[in-house]
């Protein structure tokens, strides 16, 4: 019985690694794509397009991996030779990560914001220029590097950008890089010591902003025929680390982009703090001056491409761990056990109820129905007849459909026994002849089966099931790190359960369920929405509580509810901020396209609770149902200002979906709600 400790058990193939920690070789080795060269992820950021782009995305959406894949170091690895790579790919990727610049040094210390803005811009440009030359160096031919005339021409042209020439001129390409690095080091020394000296002495700004960033590529194009058609792409990553002032400089570079140079700017969803530029502060204009790509949103839109990417990602990880060598993209889903939907989930539903059935205790949904009906119907024989007519012992899920159909169709004046008999006949027809024999009944089943199954699990003290590779892909929502986290936790649960994931047999549903719950907790804890954490978490909790209250009610108004329609423009400040932060931290996803309100022509925005969090509250991961939240309710749920009011709003919204109010509301005359015996069964 004891499990053997295997290497695979110890070395989980899905342990999380950030792309920023990869070596260039690992960036290439772990790269997976959504398709061939024409459909590559690289085409998402259009490296040969001169239009600058902001590449945004949630944590782990693959921005860094994508940007580093386009860097010169990895270009060289792809083609064995950078010059060949540039010739074929027609761009040179100059990758720089903002984290390395330690940007928070450029503030305070007794200096004005204006001073820091200039110093930062100067230091940043020196950094980019040195990175550019270092990135390009492997692509230069020996005869260029060793040619005194070529070096002299290059240095002469580059130094033209400088207002003051160095005392000792650089003599070759390497010395030019060194010269730029020395200048930047001098700035670093002055900046770092200004905390002590309260002065910024010894810094002379030697060139105009943008001259090196845009000028040097132009010089290189003139001097090297091989680069005449090359696009020089500055890939600047983790820009969320920049302050607003610093981002203004970046935006200015975007606005005044020149020649064969462009920028790709990577940041978290919340990372862009301003669109303003230096000087007048006029914002850069989306689509006219720059493009914006949200990587995970794009992958969500390209669902089939993301599914391919996900499968390849898994296979690459398994390959690196020397596991699952017999698994292909096509056969990967077979490694995961799934719930059988056969015969209307009969087997699963019977598995859930069988042990309690054996004790003779009434099924909870029937017991609730009997109690509620008995409170309204004086004639107990009618209550019993209803229960017996709707009871379907061999099909517990359809039994719940029977009840739901009853709740949905009941109204005052209806002959309830006749209604129950009709439902009974529908169920029998469905079982005997299929969907066409009872189309309305089947429609109800197909809409609500996952909700009713989740209810069944919960009523019997078990967790609702999320299982299967497609489900995992859907849960990860275009974010590869989410997928890896899910698989990591599933793998450890499976190993603990004595299984051999991806080696022998299928990964059990149980291991998947527990792994998904673990990953959900990780996701919830991993996002740290700084000082707004409690506000954001509260807002999402309230949304989820409402969705859960509806899902687990006796008669849910919507199926698979995880979306809300809101008009963000009408919200109070605090609520709007909570909504924005929840979106920035990917707790809520904005669903593309706007929706009209049901009863008028207002345009609403649809938000989905991130499916990565669905298991936390046992809500649906599928985006089907959505409900509109009026301003007052949305404010109560989002602002956190009135927890009791929020709870009241949820109760008010859902109380008629629950027994006994559900029956009361449909059977009792509204004019006389206190009347006890109102129903005679006819």
């Amino acid at each position: 019985m004891r499990s053997v400790t295997t290497d695979l058990h110890r070395n989980n193939p899905f342990d999380l690694t950030k792309a920023s920690d990869y070596s260039d070789e690992q960036v290439k080795e772990y790269w997976v794509d959504v398709g061939d060269a024409q459909k590559s992820l690289v085409t998402f950021i259009k490296p040969t397009s001169l239009v600058p782009m902001f590449l945004l995305g949630g944590k782990g959406s693959g921005k860094t991996h994508l940007m580093r894949y386009c860097s010169s170091a990895v270009q060289e690895l792809r083609h064995s030779n950078l010059r060949t790579a540039i010739a074929q790919e027609k761009y040179l990727g100059v990758y720089s990560i903002a984290d390395g610049l330690n940007v928070h040094r450029f503030s305070g210390k007794g200096q004005t914001d204006e001073t820091w803005q200039s110093i930062f811009a100067y230091s940043f440009e020196l950094w980019l220029a040195a990175n550019l030359l270092s990135s390009l160096r492997p692509a230069l031919a020996d005869d260029e590097l060793k040619s005194a005339a070529w070096s002299e021409a290059l240095i002469k042209h580059v130094l033209q950008f400088f207002h003051v020439k160095p005392e000792t001129l650089p003599r070759n390409f390497d010395e030019l890089i060194e010269y730029l690095s020395t200048l930047r080091t001098a700035v670093d020394v002055a900046v770092n010591n200004s905390a002590i000296t309260r002065q910024l002495t010894g810094i002379t700004v030697l060139f105009n902003p943008g001259d090196l960033v845009f000028g040097i590529p132009s010089v290189l194009t003139q001097l090297c025929a091989a680069f005449q058609k090359t696009v020089f792409v500055y890939l600047i990553d983790e820009v969320e680390n920049f302050t607003e002032q610093q981002q203004r400089f970046l935006n200015t570079l975007v606005r005044y982009r020149k020649g064969n140079v462009t920028l790709r700017i990577g940041a978290r969803l919340y990372g862009v703090k301003t669109e303003a530029t230096l000087g007048s502060g006029e914002p850069i204009k989306r689509d006219a001056e720059y493009e914006r790509l949200v990587l995970d949103a794009r992958l969500r839109e390209e669902a089939s491409q993301y599914e391919t990417l996900a499968a390849r990602l898994v296979l690459r990880r398994l390959q690196a761990a020397h596991a699952g060598t017999n698994i292909s993209e096509q056969s990967l889903p077979e490694a995961f056990a799934e719930l059988s939907t056969e015969n209307f989930h009969q087997k699963i539903a019977l598995d859930i109820v069988s042990s309690r059935d054996a004790t003779g205790v009434e099924r909870p949904h029937l017991a609730r129905f009997r109690d509620a009906a008995a409170g309204l119907i004086a004639d107990k024989s009618i209550v019993e007849a209803l229960v017996e007519t709707l009871r379907l012992p061999e099909h517990p899920l359809l039994e719940k459909v029977n009840l739901l159909a009853f709740y949905k169709r009941i109204s005052r004046g209806v002959d309830v026994l006749a209604l129950a008999r009709t439902i009974e006949q529908d169920a029998a027809a469905l079982l005997k002849s299929g969907a066409a024999a009872a189309p309305d009944y089947y429609d109800l089943y197909s809409h609500f089966s996952s909700d009713l199954l989740a209810q069944l699990y919960r009523d019997y003290g078990r967790k609702p099931v999320y299982a299967g590779f497609k489900t995992l892909v859907r849960l990860s929502q275009g974010v590869p790190r989410n997928l890896l986290s899910l698989l990591k936790h599933i793998h450890r649960r499976s190993s603990f359960g004595g299984e051999a994931p991806f080696v022998r047999g299928k990964i059990s549903v149980e291991a998947q369920v527990h792994g998904i719950y673990d990953a959900t907790e990780w996701f919830w804890e991993d996002a740290q929405p700084d000082e707004h954490g409690s506000l954001v978490r509260n807002a999402v909790e309230q949304f989820a509580t409402l969705a859960r209250s509806i899902r687990y009610s006796d008669s849910p108004s919507e199926c698979d509810l995880c979306c809300f329609l809101i008009n963000p423009e009408t919200l109070e400040n605090m609520s709007a901020q909570a909504l924005k932060m929840a979106e920035n931290w990917s707790f809520l996803l904005r669903v593309k396209g706007n929706s009209g309100a049901k009863n008028d022509d207002r345009v609403l925005t649809k938000y989905q609770i991130n499916p990565m969090l669905a298991a936390r509250w046992g809500i649906s991961e599928s985006r089907r149902g959505a409900i509109e939240l009026k301003k007052e309710v949305a404010d109560l749920l989002l602002s956190g200002a009135d927890p009791a009011g929020a709870q009241q709003a949820i109760t008010a919204r859902t109380e008629t979906m629950y027994l006994p109010r559900l029956l009361e509301a449909n059977l009792v005359a509204r004019t006389n709600p206190g009347q006890a015996s109102l129903f005679d069964g006819n």
Partner: protein
């Protein structure tokens, strides 16, 4: 349900990170099946409580044992020795020379015969502390047998040795040290009263150490890297395990469970040897001072069917 899931989640992490994969899900399930409602509580409730007991189990894997062996050598042996030598000389060269002399006049011995855990640790102790083979002895090698007046008599075999250091993995009741003190060492100390005898364990209960100090020739020359005070006794009034329980757990059942089943398994010592009530185990073995519900196995001589979670390899 939530508590059960939380405990299982804890076990997954423990098994993955600490227990070296020795208590996987199927093994835990088999162990839980031992609990059948004998305490009067339902089997499910007993199993929930058993799960909590297991979640508190302290396991020391091979890496941890190696680190502890280094700590034992440095903290319990080398530093006190260095302090003593330093007190006698302030000259660094002289100090180094004296330390070398002291080290070479020291022998380390495992407690028990060569197949037992105390001796088993010597191999790793030597490796971790960079010691030579010559620094170790088997306890039988302390003496030579000579013929005195027609009678066989044990005499010290290594008169140049000034210090014998006995090592053990755990000192529970202190009985092993007492036995060594009474049976092995009297003749040595009679012949060489100046010889020092030390006794060190990786783990020791406070009670056990007290008995060694007060009732053996080791006296105060004993110690442990990890001293287990009364809070480590499972059912003790000051039990650290039972002081703050999650909702859904009952102190009374947590104390009744190991006692009820322990009485069935080992009637004389239901809570571990000499009622030690410990809850720890090592990669090389689980001590009998640990609650028997953890380690008892059917082969131990009774007809009781029991599936251990951390097996004990007994002294037969």
């Amino acid at each position: 349900m939530e508590l059960w899931d939380a405990l299982i989640t804890r076990l997954v992490t423990l098994d993955e990170r600490v227990w070296e994969g020795k208590a996987s899900g199927p093994a835990v399930s088999s162990w839980l099946d031992n609990f059948s409602g004998r305490t009067g509580a339902t089997a499910d409730l007993e199993r929930l409580h058993a799960l909590y007991i297991l979640s508190q189990f302290m396991y020391f894997g091979s890496q941890e044992i190696r680190v502890l062996l280094r700590a034992l050598y440095r903290e319990l042996f080398l530093l006190p020795l260095a302090q003593r030598v330093r007190a006698e000389t302030s000259d660094t060269a002289e100090f180094c020379k004296r330390m070398e002399e002291e080290r070479s006049a020291t022998r380390f011995l495992g407690v028990g015969n060569p197949s037992e855990s105390g001796v088993h640790l010597l191999y790793y102790f030597r490796q971790e502390n960079g010691l030579s083979k010559g620094a170790f002895l088997d306890s039988a090698q302390i003496y030579d047998l000579t013929d005195v007046g027609g009678q066989r008599k044990r005499v010290p075999r290594h008169p140049q040795v000034k210090r014998y250091v006995f090592l053990d993995d755990i000192c529970g009741s202190g009985e092993t040290a007492i036995r060594y003190s009474n049976n092995l060492l009297p003749e040595l100390l009679a012949e060489q009263p100046e010889v020092e005898v030390w006794y060190f364990a990786l783990f020791a209960t406070s009670d056990g150490l007290r008995r060694v100090v007060n009732g053996t020739v080791f006296g105060t020359c004993c110690g442990a890297v990890y001293e287990l005070d009364e809070t480590y006794k499972w059912t003790g009034l000051k039990s650290r395990y039972l002081s703050a329980l999650p909702d859904g757990l009952h102190r009374s059942l947590l104390t009744a469970l190991p006692l009820t089943y322990g009485s069935m398994l080992i009637p004389g010592h239901p809570l571990g040897y000499q009622e030690s009530e410990l809850l720890l185990g090592f990669s090389h073995n689980t001590p009998d001072n640990t609650l028997p519900i953890i380690w008892f196995e059917q082969e131990h001589g009774t007809s009781t069917t029991w599936y251990p979670i951390f097996k004990r390899y007994p002294k037969v």
